[in-house]
């Protein structure tokens, strides 16, 4: 049985390798090799490429986020004449001439993360504002539309945190009986979120809900409340990290929103496939962040090797 299974897997692998020879290679550029988010994206791109019959070549600066190194890597990659590039610039402005060169060489290039200024064929993004709004709605409904809540921001001034917080605030406008008693920053750090929550509990003995701009901070805040023997506060957050999903499944976190590097990698490759086949692609493709709740938690947070790509069709973006 085991050998049969193994041979099937081997066959599948060799078949996909053979297929990969057919359509050529896709170059995948990420900012560094240390951030787990980019690791997810690389695996997502690999999985999608294999499924569509391409091979991938991964490029990431050995010194994290090194801009000179990425410029050099783009030069190298162009000479290999790939079918397309999935590209996250270390610096959007600094890499602009490099992206232009790729376009001149007639190679399709797709960005994920940045909202961009139009020099890529397409951009794959999540809408942070909408994530904040959607996850806040779950909290507001759970609280029956009333109560006292606090918002824990990431880094004040960073686009991600500001947009997520703004989204949350917008939803709260439709729940006038929910009072935001504090908006405080914890810089995406778990320890800092723990301390901020400890402090806020001194000032506000009754907090019904917490909105955190990342799972990491939500877990710090939850730890503070659990250590103080404080229960009954509902917490929502964003990112859908493995930790976060586990907390949702365990009922410690009410909900999170999925911000998936894996799916970004998948979709970017699929867009390249469409460009190479001469099909039109959207200039800006927004992935809809799925809500992770206790009911749906088992679908999320899988180890990378078990994840599968959703196609544009699955996402309802293309026919």
């Amino acid at each position: 049985m085991k050998t049969a299974l193994a041979s099937i897997i081997l066959l599948a692998i060799s078949a996909s390798c053979a297929m990969a020879q057919d359509k050529g290679e896709i170059a995948v550029f990420t900012k560094n090799k240390v951030d787990p988010f980019f690791e997810e994206a690389r695996v997502g791109a690999d999985v999608a490429a294999k499924g569509l019959g391409y091979s991938t070549v991964q490029y990431a600066p050995t010194r994290p986020n090194n801009f000179q190194e990425q410029i050099a890597q783009v030069e190298d990659a162009i000479t290999r004449k790939p079918k397309g590039m999935v590209f996250v610039p270390v610096d959007t402005k600094g890499l602009k001439p490099s992206v232009a060169k790729v376009r001149e060489a007639g190679i399709p290039i797709v960005n994920f993360i940045d909202t961009g200024d139009g020099n890529f064929n397409s951009y794959v993004i999540y809408d942070d504002h909408r994530m904040g709004a959607d996850v806040t709605r779950i909290l507001a409904e759970k609280l029956g539309g009333k109560g006292k809540i606090v918002i824990i921001e990431g880094i004040k001034g960073s686009a991600t945190s500001d947009n997520r917080t703004a989204g949350a605030q917008e939803t709260l406008k439709s729940y006038p009986q929910i009072q935001v008693v504090a908006v405080q920053a914890a810089n995406y750090q778990r320890l800092q979120a723990l301390q901020v929550m400890e402090n806020l509990m001194q000032q506000f003995p009754e907090i019904d809900g917490v909105i955190a701009a990342s799972d990491n901070m939500a877990l710090g805040a939850i730890e503070a409340m659990e250590s103080a023997g404080h229960s009954g506060t509902q917490v929502v957050s964003m990112d859908g990290t493995i930790d976060g999903v586990q907390a949702v499944a365990a009922g410690r976190l009410l909900a999170s929103a999925e911000f998936s590097g894996f799916q970004m990698g998948c979709t970017a490759v699929e867009i390249i496939d469409r460009v190479t086949r001469g099909e039109a692609v959207p200039e800006r493709l927004e992935l809809k962040a799925e809500m992770i709740t206790k009911e749906t938690a088992d679908k999320f947070g899988q180890p990378l090797e078990k994840r599968t790509c959703k196609s544009l069709k699955d996402l309802g973006v293309a026919s």
Partner: protein, 330 residues
């Protein structure tokens, strides 16, 4: 009234009893005054600030910052610097977390954290004292090596959930007092005894004040440098145990944000960046001041956009008040 001019950088040895008021004692008093004024100010604006619960809360938060800064205080007093304490905390915490999850043993976890801290400190000490490399660069390089090691060790996924008896050191209570506070007090006492009442401690101060003179006087400068780096690493390892117990999770970014505040706590506490003067009580007061700033801003719900600004104002204000008080007294 005779005017006495005083140059704090060139301190004479401490044994000259009979001086009217030791400058270190004066500096501690000045810091207490600054802290008292700050507390009084916040208390006027917020009634919850002076509650026993919040006082305990602030002390518990400050204890982690103090622990990471305690050993580094000795390094700075001895005339060097340790920029790797945050990274030592990170690696110690991550590997200890892995060991606890693999073996289920809290004791092994604690031993791992301390062993990594001490080894990293020893490596720093050997590079700085043995090979005479510049302390700033050695410990800055060590920062990258250790946090890089933590990144690869963790593979991007945090390790969460530790046994109750392990978490006791970070989040437990003894006689109603949070354990980290007791660890802070014990560390501060032990460190102060070494610094003020032992020959080695006096040698550290002397070599920080004037390395060349200390060497000529036959002080074992290299051995002492290795000692302070080991102490610094051990404190960071201990801080890692407390941090793990508190947040119940290890991730490869956890120590980075603690480095600058720890150096700030040391300097706000009156230790000179150029060495030769400083106390652990001062560092504790510095850690307390920084912690109170965040606590007060949270209690008063000062907008996040204003918080860096407010922190800066308080720090600079504290330094100005300190300079003013010192001048008045002399």
């Amino acid at each position: 009234m005779t005017e006495t001019t005083e140059m704090p950088a060139i301190r004479t040895f401490r044994s000259d009893a009979g001086a009217p008021l030791d400058p270190e004692l004066r500096s501690i008093i000045a810091r207490f005054v600054v802290l008292a004024v700050l507390c009084a100010g916040v208390a006027l604006l917020n009634e919850n600030f002076l509650s026993v619960a919040n006082f305990t809360n602030v002390l518990r938060q400050a204890s982690l910052l103090f622990l990471i800064a305690a050993g580094a205080t000795l390094v700075i007093i001895a005339g060097a610097i340790d920029l790797s304490v945050g990274a030592i905390l990170t690696l110690s915490a991550c590997v200890a977390a892995g060991v606890i999850h693999a073996t289920g043993s809290s004791g092994l976890g604690i031993a791992t954290a301390l062993a990594i801290g001490i080894s990293a400190g020893l490596a720093n000490g050997i590079l700085v004292a043995g090979l005479r490399l510049p302390p700033f660069l050695v410990t800055y390089g060590m920062l990258w090596i250790l946090s890089g090691g933590a990144l690869y060790y963790m593979g991007g996924i945090p390790i969460t959930g530790f046994p109750r008896e392990f978490r006791f050191l970070g989040s437990g209570f003894l006689l109603g007092i949070p354990v980290p506070i007791l660890i802070m007090i014990a560390t501060a006492l032990a460190g102060s005894v070494v610094l003020h009442m032992t020959t080695v401690g006096q040698q550290m101060v002397m070599m920080g004040a004037n390395r060349a003179a200390a060497t000529l006087a036959g002080i074992p400068v290299r051995r002492n440098l290795i000692c302070v780096y080991v102490a610094s690493g051990a404190c960071a390892g201990l801080a890692a145990v407390v941090a793990l117990g508190r947040v119940n999770s290890a991730d490869p970014g956890m120590g980075d944000p603690l480095l600058l505040p720890s150096i700030a706590a040391i300097l706000v506490g009156g230790t000179s960046l150029f060495g030769g003067t400083g106390t652990l009580l001062g560092t504790a007061l510095g850690a307390l001041l920084l912690t109170i700033v965040l606590n007060a801003m949270n209690l008063l719900t000062i907008g996040s956009a204003w918080q860096p600004f407010a922190t800066g104002i308080v720090l600079v204000g504290a330094m100005l008040a300190d300079a003013f008080l010192n001048r008045r007294r002399s």
